[in-house]
Amino acid sequence: MKIDFTLNGQARSLNVDPLQPLLTTLRDVIGLKATKEGCGEGECGACSAIVNGKLVNTCLFPIAQVDGAQVLTLEGLRETPRGRCLIDALLTAKGVQCGFCTPGMVLALYQVLVNSPDVTQITEHEIRVGISGNLCRCTGYGMIVDAVNIAIEQGEGLW
């Protein structure tokens, strides 16, 4: 099936099995490796990407539904001021240990920030719900939650 979509701002055209998970397309067909496979069944969030402004588990997302869509992965986000601010905040908070969950975690945190009408009002509960589908077995989450507040402070005006 012919699939035309925008990946990190660049037009892409592929001919692939319509049921191929977007995760496979990203990693094995296109060769972008930031998006990770953890469980392969939608439970761990390591494969998170943003499709048309929504966080999705790319292991469960068939490429057929990507036709005409805008896809953002960590490779795209890190090229933006907001992405750099959030990644720096996560490093400042020491919210990265083994790093396997980090690409998905950054995208989930980014969604919490960009979906908030007023970032100064974001509650800890909202952050924790936002990353509830992203498992991290190293940090205990506290430092990851702190990163949002650091990003808001350091990225004054960005959000």
Partner: protein
Amino acid sequence: MVIAYRPETTAQAVEYLARGDVAIFAGGTDIMVGDKPVCRSFKGEPSAMLFIDAIDELKTLSDNSKTITVGAGLSLTELENDHRVPKLLRDSILQVAAPGVRNCATMGGNVCNASPAADTLPILYLLDTQVVVSSVNGKITFPIEQFIKGPGITQLTSSDLLTQLVIPKTEFSHTFYRKVGTRCANALTKVSIVGAANIQNGLLSDWRVAFGAVGPTVVRDQQIESLLIGKPVAWLKQHHNIQSIIEAYKAKISPLSDQRSTATYRLRTSLKLLEKWLTELSDG
């Protein structure tokens, strides 16, 4: 490689289905689990897959004074954020998986998957939801308890598409919802219970309860409910009265043991939660 159809109207979708050997792909969050895509609602391997995510008609929500009509293609996130959706249904949606799954999973998919552990189903049963099914031959409406026949089994034929859920608007003075899982997010249900009641002038003018994951389908029994409706709240102050209701449900509940829980745990927990709901009500 399967053939993929991705129509933009319901009319086109039901035409594809009428050709036969076509499986429906809604949010795909159950279909895509595992190495090979599997549709619970389709026997065998289909030669074509019908993606319904591009059909805007299936993503509309409307309401009037009596009912709310929910498009089957709306994602759980879209329902969670729409305050016209009954609060009990939104509460149950917040317990489903996590945001990444809720952004894709659809209301229609949760119904057609017909899992005994589906989080939205007990609420849909409790609220007397009607299910609207379309095909090239027109529309049919089923009460949800007739639409779902067993685990993964519904009235849907191979040429049918679930298009809408029609939920009566009912105000309740008292509600109760609990889901028991191993963790707060991303846990499938061991047991769930939803209750709703209206207390007017000290009388129970309405009382309902539905259980999830304690049998092949949701357990709701309107005969037992009728034993309570019309009774004064004070009737629940007598412990033996509460006990008689619990005994009545005990006979209706037949949980299984599986990888998530045991039959004994499910039976005891569901009845203890029922007791909690009745005791809460007796306190007004």
